[in-house]
């Protein structure tokens, strides 16, 4: 009975809403012109939050980057010193004050919100308030401490004032803040912003508009035809959440979806032989490692009994054949091996660091010399303490799961017992923050500037992102010099020396750079270059050539049924 009722209702509703539908299928636009196309993205996990101040995951980040704008956008070179690497967005141009303590941004007069109202300087001021006021609780609060205030000089000019002149002051302000419309959200009290349902209505100035959002089912983004930068080539982006990688793989291979991030790497040969989809790799700025907690859990200070000994850390590093593990997990032609405490895509990366080589014999010898003798059951012991520890990992990350099993085996061969503790993402973060782990399979997605390295490895960051409690004053000094330097070459020489020191201290085993192996429909033409901080950043320039379009590309800009 229930089925009948439901089907009947569905049919009636669809029929009613679709009474004008018959003409919709053959709607104009999107058939032969430069514009057109529907891009279906099979996304693992749903979008929970896309309102900029509260975005914590990539899914939300992607939507925000498409629907909202920044004053300027960083390009693929990721230069964070000064403003050379930035292209104009909402700010058509900007002037630096002579003392570099303030910058005046001139807004593009054509810029409009999706509801038609013009973008003004008071929106900029409002956006700064939302991103920096602790009452709103945005994730960007600690990153904007160097900014004193934003002043509205006139409706088209906003001036930002800094407390200190730093090399990344432009980047700090422009990269972290997405501009929000004050007239839409301004009436919500800051404390209630986090939980207000109004923030689900995304009204931005980006080249895509939010047309429909059905949590758990899908999200429709439609081209903003009146956009100040011109409309995107695609008509629409449909984000459809999928259960897991297998479902996504099936959808991409059958052409049901156009793109899947993180295509199962073992199956990538299916993409090579597919007529419908192909493999396409995108860089990221994440890097993964096995980190050692340098002091015991829940202690205020001091060093861990065995991880405090650099010989043990180096020995464990030498027991691991990183290349073989990379090939097992990422495929035989993988090249994204970890080179050190940074991702290969950032400007200051150095692939020439000397890392502990893979040498199981040397590893054993080093452990012997450090006093860890092999016990009767294959486990090393020193002063009655066995070389036994847990590796903290997550249940959801496939690569972590793979690596944890591989590492466990490799370490067992030199007499160390590693137990795997896989927890859910929430517990993982809270235990990281609390220092409640022995070793951990972690990743850093640092900001593209050298300051990002300090956030991960600097002494001052112990208590926030420096989860391993690594502290080396020389490294601090070198990284400070690197980030204070206005000369990129000098900056790099400082940072390379710092990274070599970190590598010698071996607080972690550098496993791999997070590379995205994706499956994409062959008819899609992505725009180059793809930015490592988000492959979607130039989605508005992607296109589908007219001769390759299929039915769903020709729908045009009409709205979907409610």
């Amino acid at each position: 009975m229930r089925t009948h009722a439901l089907l009947l209702t569905t049919s009636v509703v669809a029929l009613a809403a679709c009474s004008a539908c018959s003409s919709k299928e053959s709607a104009t636009g999107g058939s032969a012109g430069a514009y057109g196309g529907t891009f279906i993205y099979a996304q693992i996990g749903d979008v929970s939050d896309a309102f900029p101040p509260y975005i914590e995951d990539q899914n939300g980040r992607m939507v925000a980057d498409l629907v909202f704008d920044r004053l300027a956008q960083i390009n693929a070179t990721l230069g964070t010193v000064g403003d050379k690497a930035f292209d104009p967005r909402l700010a058509k141009s900007w002037d630096w004050a002579k003392d570099s303590m303030s910058i005046a941004f001139h807004l593009d007069p054509r810029a409009r919100w999706h509801d038609g109202k013009p973008v003004t300087a008071s929106d900029v001021k409002y956006s700064f308030k939302v991103h920096s006021d602790p009452k709103a609780g945005a994730v960007t609060v600690p990153l904007l401490t160097n900014i004193d205030s934003v002043q509205v000089r006139d409706s088209a000019t906003a001036v930002v004032w800094y407390k200190k002149h730093t090399p990344t002051e432009f980047y700090d302000f422009v990269y972290q803040i997405m501009i929000l419309p004050e007239h839409v959200y301004g009436s919500i009290p800051l404390e209630q912003l986090h939980t207000s349902p109004q923030t689900k209505q995304l009204v931005g100035s980006g080249r895509f508009r939010l047309a429909k959002w059905q949590p758990g089912v899908r999200m429709d983004l439609v081209a903003d035809t009146a956009n100040y930068r011109g409309r995107p080539k695609l008509d629409r982006i449909v984000i459809t959440p999928i259960a897991d990688a297998n479902a996504g793989m099936a959808q991409v291979l059958t052409g049901q979806s156009d793109f899947m991030q993180a295509f199962p790497v073992d199956q990538s040969d299916k993409l090579d032989s597919s007529k419908v989809a192909r493999r396409i790799d995108f860089p990221t700025i994440g890097y993964a490692w096995l980190g050692f907690n340098l002091f015991p859990p829940k202690a205020k200070s001091g060093t861990n009994t065995f991880f405090g000994d650099v010989r043990v850390r180096r020995a464990l590093s030498m027991a691991v054949d990183r290349k073989a593990m990379l090939n097992n997990v990422f495929g035989p032609s993988a090249t994204n091996i970890g080179y050190g405490p940074f991702p290969a895509a950032v400007a200051y990366a150095d692939s020439n660091l000397k890392l502990p080589p893979f040498d199981a014999a040397a590893a054993s010898a080093l452990l012997d010399s450090a006093g860890w003798r092999m016990g009767p059951n294959g486990l090393r012991v020193k002063n009655g303490v066995p070389l036994k520890f847990t590796i903290l990992s997550t249940t959801t990350s496939l690569f972590r799961r793979r690596y944890s099993v591989l590492l466990q085996d490799a370490l067992k061969r030199i007499g160390a017992q590693a137990d795997i503790d896989a927890v859910d993402a929430g517990t993982f973060i809270s235990r990281l923050n609390g220092g409640d782990f022995d070793a951990v399979l972690g990743t850093f997605n640092p900001d593209p500037d050298v300051g990002g390295a300090l956030q991960s490895w600097g002494t001052k960051s112990i208590g926030s992102s420096n989860w391993m409690h690594y502290s080396n004053r020389t490294v601090d000094a070198l990284l400070d010099s690197a980030s204070a330097s206005f000369d990129p070459a000098k900056s790099k020489s400082y940072s390379s020396r710092a990274f070599q020191q970190i590598a010698d201290d071996a607080p972690a085993i550098w496993l791999y750079d997070v590379t995205l192996i994706n499956g994409m429909n062959r008819r899609i033409e992505p725009a180059r270059p793809i930015s490592p901080i988000g492959w979607w950043l130039n989605l508005s320039d992607w296109s589908i050539p007219a001769d390759k379009r299929i039915d769903r590309d020709r729908i045009g800009l009409s709205q979907p049924n409610p």
């Binding site: 229930r2 679709c18 539908c21 939050d49 602790p134 609060v141 349902p197 949590p215 259960a243 297998n246």
Partner: protein, 311 residues
């Protein structure tokens, strides 16, 4: 009726204490970018730093007012998130229950009528294999077969991405296509149990006096089967339906995960992993309420059909 209310109250209490006594709270896991001050502020705002008993009291009061709290993962009120997800799960379970009963009772009846025949033996064997299948494995195998090796059905979700642009008939067919595998997987498990019970129930009834009398009177076999035997077996079967509801809900958790069906099960597992305490508690309560209602309905139906049944 009163008993049901007591049951619901007990369930609320149990789930509340079990969930809230877990280490940590919803805010201890937020990204490290959020300062401790902000987190404590939220803790205060949502009352997570009060003593457990006080939290319980406040929760019960709010539930009585129809407020189930706020879901951080879904960024909406718990009631709203559930009101969207629950009907989706109900669709699966009700369809599955209906199909299982229709098929199960039919097969069981035929088995009883033709006891000992090859049909009886082979179908019994097949059914007991179905009965032994792990919920999710059946679903995974079905997915493998019908989505990869012979790709005729969609790999998950409720509707296609382009559903809104389909013509009404296409859209209806789209919905059906997406229902086939999840409902099929859920049905596999229950149909076996129902057929088995139907068979044994019928076997008990068929030799009874009034059936023999009817047969002696010359009533055709099929009428005996359909009219008399089936009707007598209906009563305990209805009670069975009530009992199967929790099992179906549990199975739905797995099936929804495999097929990415955004119903209660998927919502619950996501909420648990995301430490969305209010949502988890509410899901458990709603699940139990559904079971209780199912049992109540079964009881009432039973009394309506068979006035001989008295409690």
């Amino acid at each position: 009726m009163l008993q049901s209310l007591i049951v619901v109250f007990l369930v609320t209490t149990i789930s509340f204490f079990v969930i809230r006594s877990a280490p940590g709270d919803p805010f201890s896991y937020e990204s490290s970018n959020i300062s401790l001050a902000v987190r404590n502020h939220w803790r205060d705002q949502f009352g997570y730093n009060r003593p457990l008993v006080e939290q319980y009291a406040r929760y019960v009061i709010s539930v009585l007012h129809g407020q189930f709290g706020y879901s951080f993962g879904m960024r909406s009120s718990v009631a709203e998130a559930l009101s969207i997800a629950v009907p989706r799960t109900l669709l699966l379970t009700m369809l599955s229950l209906g199909l299982s009963f229709a098929i199960g009772m039919l097969v069981g009846a035929v088995q009883a009528a033709r006891r000992g025949s090859w049909f009886d033996r082979i179908s019994s064997g097949v059914l007991v294999v179905f009965y032994s299948l792990p919920d999710f494995w059946g679903a995974l195998m079905a997915l493998l077969i019908f989505t990869f090796w012979w790709p005729v059905l969609p790999s998950g979700g409720i509707v296609d991405a382009m559903h809104d642009f389909m013509s009404p008939s296409q859209a209806a067919w789209d919905r059906i296509r997406h229902l086939i595998l999840p409902v099929g997987s859920l049905t596999l498990l229950t149909v076996a149990a129902i057929a088995r019970y139907q068979r044994s129930a019928m076997l008990e009834i068929l030799p009874s006096d009034y059936i023999r009398t009817a047969r002696a009177k010359g009533v055709p076999e099929r009428t005996i089967l359909m009219r008399h035997a089936l009707r007598t077996a209906l009563t305990p079967m209805i009670t069975l339906a009530g009992l199967f509801f929790p099992a179906l809900l549990g199975g739905a958790v797995f099936v929804e995960k495999v097929f990415g069906w955004p119903g209660m099960g998927l919502l619950a597992t996501g909420a648990i992993a995301g430490r969305d305490y209010d949502l988890v508690t509410a899901t458990v309560i709603v699940g139990s309420v559904m079971v209780v209602i199912g049992n109540l309905a079964a009881d009432l139906l039973q009394m309506a059909i068979d006035p001989r049944v008295r409690e």
